[in-house]
Amino acid sequence: MLIRRPADILPSEITDPALYAGRRRFIQAAAAGTIAGALGLPALAAPAAARGEKLPGVRPSQWTLDEKPTPYETIVSYGNFYEFGPDKDSPGKNAYRLRPRPWSVLVEGEVKKPQRFDIEDILKWAPLEERTYRMRCVEGWSMVVPWVGFPFSELMKRVEVTGNAKYVEFWSLADPEQMPYVRLPLLDWPYMEGLRLDEAMHPLTIFAVGLYGEVLPKPNGAPLRLVVPWKYGFKGAKSIVRIRFVREMPRTTWMKAGPDEYGFYSNVNPDVPHRRWSQSHERRLGEFLKRKTLPFNGYAEQVAQLYAGMDLRKFF
């Protein structure tokens, strides 16, 4: 008679060591943050982010802005990335769970050759450029970010987009293992943003893969995100895993969450208030008083012609 030995622990029951370590780090950081917060000690409150690997061969770009960039620490510790939590400091605290390698991006829709690109190959598509851009959040704060990336149009060269494509969608990763907050119905996951094709093809629109000359930090949307400097920050989808060329204007995540507050275009416009606050001014992080917000976030000269003849109050 065959007597079966009881099974040992199932592999599925064994905690992944990375997760285990992650949990410990999470608890330590949370505890440190709470204690430091309660005592008002600044140094302990935010665990210092480890600096990333230097990206080789980064060149300056003609599109770069001559403004003093916001400090690295601020850029990685303040922002919105709801997959890691709803607070401004959530991404800085929780994004260490993200695994940006291996990573691939699926490109599909109105293209002749839908395909999956590996991030290592994407990095070799074009020379990487440093582009210091203004970043204006719809919430009324702003910063100046030295992105490293390449124009969106580099993607267009590699997939045969059909004449039917009018818009392009950018889908973010929504993996509950890495992104704890996608378990909550904060937004309609996965996160999706979109652009009209001519907006996407504008030379200012870039895929960012780095920050301050280093590999893009996790809280800022590693390994690949979109940056559209004349639009509110949320238009720049983070941690992109899927890009779809489509015929119809997509109904993006934020349009679903608040149709009267977040339009498809979401161009930075001091004359179109958010439903609950004015957009005429912004607070540049690090400054105490608000400054005036510029039309198209200061990029009007380059992009205003994209919207010639459109009523930007209606198409906000």
């Binding site: 008002g40 000690l41 600044p42 409150a45 935010a46 620490e73 601020t74 510790s77 303040y78 709801y82 709803p86 401004k88 400091d89 704060w141 904060l186 937004l187 969450a257 608040g258 208030p273 609950r276 606050w277 004015s278 001014h281 607070r283 992080l285 690090g286 105490f288 008083l289 608000k290």
Partner: protein, 219 residues
């Protein structure tokens, strides 16, 4: 268990402790300002913290009456003025951060925002309603107004609470409603207690006749 009565010395001690404790959040903010501990968006942090503490003290003030009634610790009422004044203190700091940091004390700019933005309007009205309450908080003012009129005036603190709850709701995104809901629930409980207390005492139905309780043992 806390005593039902306190002598003057004990009351002074309790008041001193409360005064210092209530000052702690302000001291913490002062510390953070001095040592750069307000994070990447210091103004936002200041506005949030002062706003939250205003609401905290408002709720604490509104807790005094029910707690006193339920526990029978009547000395609690002697702490209410201080709690209310602290709510006004933090509310004023909150208001100052708004007019100072958001509008650089530009009256036109402030007026525009207050008129146009519902949450600013409501917050401004709430602070304005607290002003007469703070001004009539002295014993002399109570005497001059007479207890009944003073009490009627000070019931506007309920309105301040409701406005504060709306202010909070309109301020946050639909994705961050947890705290406003929590605060509004606490407020509803505190105001609800008052409503049921009033109905119980003066309700449309006749009060139940008092029944002599049976005593089994002589004390």
């Amino acid at each position: 268990m806390l005593p039902r009565t306190l002598n003057d010395r004990q009351l002074t001690a309790v008041k001193t402790v409360l005064f210092l404790a209530a000052l702690l959040p302000a001291l913490q903010l002062a510390w953070a300002i001095a040592f750069d501990g307000l994070g990447p968006n210091p103004v936002e942090t200041l506005q949030r913290k002062t706003g939250t503490w205003t609401f905290n003290f408002l709720l604490l003030t509104l807790t005094v009456t029910p707690l006193r009634s339920i526990s029978g610790m009547h000395w609690l009422i002697r702490l209410r003025r201080m709690l209310g004044l602290y709510a006004f203190f933090y509310g004023t700091l909150h208001f100052l951060t708004f007019i100072g940091f958001d509008h650089a004390f530009d009256i036109n700019d402030i007026a525009k925002d207050v008129v146009k933005r519902p949450f600013a309007t409501v917050g401004f009205v709430a602070w304005t309603l607290m002003l007469p309450l703070a001004l009539t908080s002295t014993n002399a003012a109570i005497r001059r107004l007479g207890g009944k009129r003073w009490q009627t005036l000070h019931r506007s603190v309920y309105a301040v609470g409701i406005l504060a709850a709306f202010h909070y709701f309109w301020l946050v995104k639909a994705t961050a409603l947890l705290w406003p809901i929590l605060y509004a629930t606490l407020l509803a409980l505190l105001l609800g207690w008052r409503a049921q207390d009033r109905i119980r005492r003066y309700g449309p139905w006749p009060a139940l006749p008092k029944v002599q309780t049976i005593r089994f043992f002589r004390k």
